[in-house]
């Protein structure tokens, strides 16, 4: 053919077509270049928005995933352990497998597994040995099983993110720590009576019932939200189970992250695991416990009883993330599992009691910061496998069973010998995915100088500790920042409040080591695993009371409104949806909302559990963002909202 590519005419046509194409491209580029700023300003409402690639906004993203039932990973991830009344069986909640496992302790193997949907967490056995209670964290219920048959006989609804659980001696009452409702629920298992809810601090996590069943101790994980430059505190709550009233709330100053509590047999004292924090000081060093240290709180139950914080750390060694704690039946030895340190500490409780009895109040207060004190009461450090979290004591006090959460095993500690004498394999896949390896890195404090803290220490369950920190890198005493949640952040780069880290590998890279861990940076392999894990962190299931559905809908409309109540158009830049654009609820740009600078726009998921708010936590509640810190509509237009409307907006935001 005369017009073929090989002919002169064909070549001319080809060149002409190429030229035309190039012209179109150039013209398109020029037009786009002229149009782009206008488009950017239309979308953001701001003329100062830095130019980005089209894909920065126009890419396919979805809202972060919400954690669902068993994740199909094949891992077991034991969260809770409890021993049967006769000491022959061990019950283990397999959080990643949605199962309750029954272990024959003589055969040291799993003999039965029953399905418990909704991420089973806490487990307890009634003193009469007949009942087993299992909390389903994501299903908002507690299952009461016949201990012999492991059939679910009763279900107690608890729309509260049920965590720690205890059963009365005869199994008729169940006590449940409500992580999402900030209370402890007391309910009859089969009586149908109205449950009682008692306030128990910010994110109640663990419960412990005295031998008589009359006193319940409740530990809460997060400190109460406080404004910047305020000493944070968590608390230990004692409940009179007979009267169903709170006996006392005991303040634990500069302490939080209580994931374990053990009350003595005679209900005279309780031990709670804590992280002793020093967030009001500039983070100029981590040496000498300058950031935080692992500890236990010794709290006497009597009305004027003492509250003493006792470090478990040593001067040159730290044992991060104390989690579970159990007491021997004679209350003479306590065992504390350190999730970030791969060990269990045995504590001489007699020595603790002597120390408390012989010290005046000043000396007891000083103990909390004395890293050398542990030499007086620590009996042993007992190595375990990855991420020991919860423990159970055998009824005869001779064995402690330690859930090694990220090793899918249970370590058996011989109490007289103070060492691990056995290990029970809980099954689960042997394949270690990048995510699983990253989860181990996340919970392992060995990457920090002297093992002082892990990623998890500030990001429990990948979320935020709710504390406000002062990083030296931002100027000592200046630019305080609140810890941000890591859940659902995969597509929300850049990171950090100043938006300087383009990806998670940078965020957790060498600079992170210099600023925070103060040790060797993560190796590339460990960093890759860590990033894979963080990117996989889902949001928790949303909990929203039905009775607020209408208010929520009105709040949603307010969030997406484009006109004020007076009908006046709201400038694009001051609409909620502009910066907090779905589906990520962030435009991933910097914004100045009148809080002393421009900051990376945060996504809005899980706001309910994310107090305090704004980059430096200056707003203790969501309402304060607008009632206190946005007097001139610097943070969206809200000044025209009625009090009711503002509440409805908050209801909507809390439901995200």
């Amino acid at each position: 053919m005369s017009g073929g590519k090989g002919t002169p005419r064909g070549r001319v046509l080809m060149r002409a077509a190429g030229l035309l194409g190039a012209l179109v491209l150039v013209a398109g580029w020029a037009a786009g270049r002229a149009w782009y700023p206008t488009h950017l300003e239309e979308v953001t409402g701001r003329a100062d928005t830095p130019q980005r690639s089209c894909l920065y906004c126009h890419r396919r993203v979805e809202a972060p995933p919400v954690r669902t039932a068993a994740n199909g990973s094949g891992y077991v991830s034991p969260e809770g352990v409890a021993v049967s009344a006769d000491g022959r069986r061990l019950f283990v909640t397999a959080a990643d497998a949605d199962r309750l496992l029954e272990v024959d302790l003589a055969r040291k193997q799993v003999v039965r597994a029953v399905e418990i949907p909704g991420r089973p967490h806490g487990v307890a056995v009634s003193a009469d040995g007949r009942w087993v209670a299992v909390s389903s964290r994501d299903a908002d219920r507690v299952s009461i099983l016949d201990a012999a048959t492991l059939e679910v006989r009763h279900t107690v609804a608890s729309a509260t993110e049920p965590l720690g659980v205890a059963l009365s001696g005869d199994g008729s009452q169940v006590y449940v720590a409500g992580g999402a409702s900030d209370d402890v629920l007391i309910a009859g298992v089969a009586s149908g009576e109205v449950p009682v809810r008692l306030p128990a601090g910010n994110e109640p996590y663990a419960v412990s019932l005295s031998r008589s069943g009359r006193v319940l101790a409740v530990a809460n994980r997060l400190a109460a939200p406080v404004p910047p430059r305020t000493i944070p505190h968590s608390e230990l709550t004692f409940v009179d189970t007979t009267r169903r009233t709170v006996l006392a709330h005991r303040r634990l100053e500069s302490a939080h992250m209580s994931e374990g509590v053990a009350i003595s047999a005679d209900a005279s004292f309780a031990l709670a695991t804590i992280l002793r924090i020093r967030n009001l000081l500039p983070l100029t060093q981590v040496d000498r416990g300058a950031v935080m240290n692992d500890a236990i709180a010794y709290v006497e139950v009597t009305p004027n009883g003492r509250t003493v914080q006792l470090p478990l750390s040593e001067v040159n060694a730290y044992f991060a993330d104390p989690s579970g704690v159990v007491l021997t039946p004679d209350d003479r030895i306590a065992f504390v599992a350190h999730g970030g340190a791969r060990l269990v500490t045995a504590v001489d409780v007699d020595a603790v009691r002597r120390l408390v009895a012989e010290s005046d109040s000043d000396a007891l207060a000083a103990l909390a910061d004395d890293m050398g004190a542990s030499a007086q009461y620590v009996l042993a450090r007992i190595p375990t496998l990855d991420n020991p979290r919860t423990m159970a004591m055998a009824p005869d006090g001779r064995r402690v069973y330690v859930a090694e959460r990220l090793a899918d095993s249970v370590a058996v500690i011989d109490v007289p010998e103070l060492r691990v004498v056995d290990r029970i394999d809980l099954g689960g896949t042997r394949t270690l995915t990048a995510q699983r390896l990253g989860e181990r890195v996340f919970h392992d404090a060995s990457g920090t100088f002297q093992g002082q803290f892990s990623c998890r220490s500030c990001h429990p369950d990948g979320h935020s500790d709710g504390l406000i920190w002062d990083f030296e890198i931002d100027g000592v005493g200046q630019n305080l920042v609140e810890t941000r949640s890591l859940r659902g952040i995969r597509d929300t780069a850049p990171f950090k409040w100043n938006g300087k880290n383009p990806d998670l590998a940078t965020q957790c890279g060498p600079r992170f080591a210099r600023v925070l861990t103060r040790s060797d940076p993560f190796t590339p392999a460990r960093l890759g695993h860590l990033v894979a894990f963080i990117e996989s962190l889902p949001l928790l299931p949303r909990r929203f009371p039905d009775e607020l559905a209408e208010a929520r809908e009105r709040g949603r409309k307010l969030f997406f409104r484009e006109r004020t109540n007076a009908g006046k158009p709201i400038p694009v830049a001051q609409r909620c949806q502009t910066c907090h654009r779905p589906p990520l609820l962030t435009d991933r740009l910097m914004a100045d909302v009148g809080s002393d600078g421009s900051f990376d726009t945060p996504q809005l998921f899980e706001l309910r559990a994310s107090a305090p708010y704004l980059h430096d936590g200056r707003a203790v509640t969501l309402e304060e963002i607008w009632t206190v810190h946005s007097p001139n509509d610097t943070h969206g237009v809200t000044s025209d909202l009625t009090k009711v409307e503002l509440n409805e907006l908050v209801v909507y935001l809390r439901s995200l």
Binding site: R278, L281, T284, P383, R419
Partner: protein, 519 residues
């Protein structure tokens, strides 16, 4: 070298760290001799060296003819191989964590300065110089993250910056990026890495409880970039000389201690978990006859929990001292026995050729482009009670002072005078220059900008201007923000979580200090 028994013992020790009650964790008896190979520093027999009291006189420690060899104790003294090549003198060996190489100090000629060399343990690689400069460089050690530390003496420079004294320097393993990291008024020496990444070393301090007016040598830690100088142990306890410290694998630090009481040097130990409160003698006990050591060349932990000790033993029945030899002791110093003794040589130092975990690294906190650092004190009123505020005397101001170097005349030459570290001269650090006076906030805090890389100290004063307490000399590196938790507070104490008034504003700058001083 790390046998099954050694591993079992190491694991066992892991479980008994901090154990008050430990049942059923008996270390297995070691079934192997002191080690397959050891590196030994040998001095011609009869040279009469003094290893502890001549720490800062390398010529006296390692006279001409001294050398480094690798030996196999179980094959006897005849089976040694020299590693120091053609050097006229060599000593102070340190074996790399992978046990492939060693660093040591050496001299090419009788006139040359001491330099640091690296050689292969196999002996097939000739020594190559790693650090060589105008002044002497000795006592090298491997750190984490591919770095090394050496002790060098500045040969010239302004006295105010501490030149003329021995200081620690760190460098890349090939000797590049050599950087001075200690800036005290007196000598710093005998560095050794801690597993957590810090450097443990000996340093003279003015206020130590040594001979009146002469201070003492205690153990300190600092980061490899020289930031965060901290007392580690022995600052307030006799004797006044603590050198040759080594971290063991079971949570202890052992070191050589010497006093002015005429008794020979001895071994002491502290526990890492509480080094300032656990000092105790490490008694060496022989299996059969007692071995009395008159001098110690050093102590090196073994992987199986025992120690290699180089020492000069007293002769039997009060006879003349024996030559220097290498001994092996069990984990608690028990059942010491001879491990190696080359009759033609004094075996003054010995290091096992064993693989061990490399120390961790630490990031660099020093900022090269800065000339100042800062000191933030959280509460100058907080004290351990031994010094500081008493009664109605509250600190209301803090005087910031800078010092010149302590001229340790005796140690200023490679081959003359006493090398016993150290004694300040009359114009020593007690007469520091005041840089300024800064008010202390009502909550006891202050935040000041100070010159970097020179000895400074702070003095708290009451309303009448009288001194309440003075710190020991310390330094900050450029860009370092140094936190003080109190004023002579317990070093075991973490800071109290509280709002610090002084950090509401930037650090008080030097200009203001000078202004305040003029007022």
């Amino acid at each position: 070298m790390r046998s099954r028994a050694a591993l079992a013992n190491a694991m066992c020790r892991t479980c008994v760290v901090s154990v008050v009650i430990a049942v059923g964790c008996n270390p297995l008896p070691a079934s192997e001799p002191a080690g397959e190979r050891i590196v030994v520093a040998q001095v011609p027999a009869g040279a009469g060296v003094s290893m502890t009291r001549e720490r800062l006189r390398p010529n006296a420690r390692y006279p001409l003819g001294s050398r480094i060899v690798v030996a196999s104790p179980d094959r006897g003294p005849g089976d040694v191989r020299a590693l120091s090549g053609d050097l006229v003198a060599a000593g102070a060996p340190d074996v790399s964590p992978d046990s492939d190489s060693l660093l040591f100090a050496g001299r090419r000629t009788p006139e040359s300065s001491w330099a640091v060399f690296e050689a292969g343990i196999s002996g097939r690689r000739a020594p190559r110089v790693v650090v060589e400069r105008d002044g002497d460089c000795i006592d090298p050690a491997y750190l984490g993250a591919g770095r090394i530390v050496v002790v060098c003496r500045e040969s010239a420079g302004p006295p105010a910056r501490g030149t003329g004294s021995w200081s620690l320097f760190t460098a890349q393993r090939d000797g590049s990026e050599l950087e001075r990291i200690t800036f005290g008024p007196g000598p710093a020496f005998d560095p050794t890495p801690l597993q957590d990444g810090r450097i443990l070393f000996s340093m003279w301090q003015a206020a130590g409880r040594g001979r009146p007016g002469q201070g003492a040598v205690a153990l300190f830690t600092a980061n490899p970039d020289g930031t965060l100088i901290e007392p580690f142990a022995g600052s307030h306890e006799p004797p006044e000389l603590k050198v040759r410290a080594r971290e063991t694998g079971d949570g202890r630090v052992v070191f050589v201690a010497d006093g002015a009481d005429g008794r020979p040097p001895s071994l002491r130990q502290v526990e890492m978990r509480r080094p300032r409160a656990t000092g105790a003698a490490l008694e060496l006990r022989a299996r059969e006859a007692a071995i009395h050591l008159l001098d110690l060349g050093g102590v090196e932990p073994l992987a199986d929990g025992g120690f290699l000790v180089a020492g000069r033993a007293a002769g039997p029945d009060g006879g003349p001292p024996q030559t220097w030899a290498v001994f092996r002791a069990g984990p608690s110093g028990t059942e010491m026995e001879g491990a190696f003794d080359d009759p033609g040589w004094d075996d003054v130092e010995a290091v096992p050729v064993e693989s061990r975990a490399a120390p961790r690294g630490r990031p660099v906190f020093r900022e090269r482009d800065r000339s100042t650092g800062a000191v933030v004190c959280y509460d100058a009123r907080r004290s351990d009670g031994s010094v500081g505020p008493a009664g109605d005397r509250h600190p209301v101001s803090v005087s910031v002072q800078a010092a010149g170097v302590v001229a340790v005349a005796a140690a200023s030459g490679s081959g003359s005078g006493s090398g016993t570290p150290p004694a300040p001269n009359a114009s020593g650090p007690a007469s520091g220059t005041e840089l300024g006076l800064v008010p202390i906030e009502g909550d006891g805090s202050f935040f000041i900008e100070v010159p970097a890389d020179r000895p400074i100290r702070v003095e708290t004063r009451d309303a009448g201007g009288a001194v309440i307490a003075a710190s020991e000399w310390f330094w900050v590196r450029p860009g370092e923000v140094r936190s003080c938790f109190g004023c002579h507070e317990s070093r075991d104490a973490a800071p109290v979580n509280r709002v610090v008034a002084a950090i509401a504003n930037p650090p008080v700058p030097l200009g203001s200090l000078a202004q305040a001083a003029r007022r």
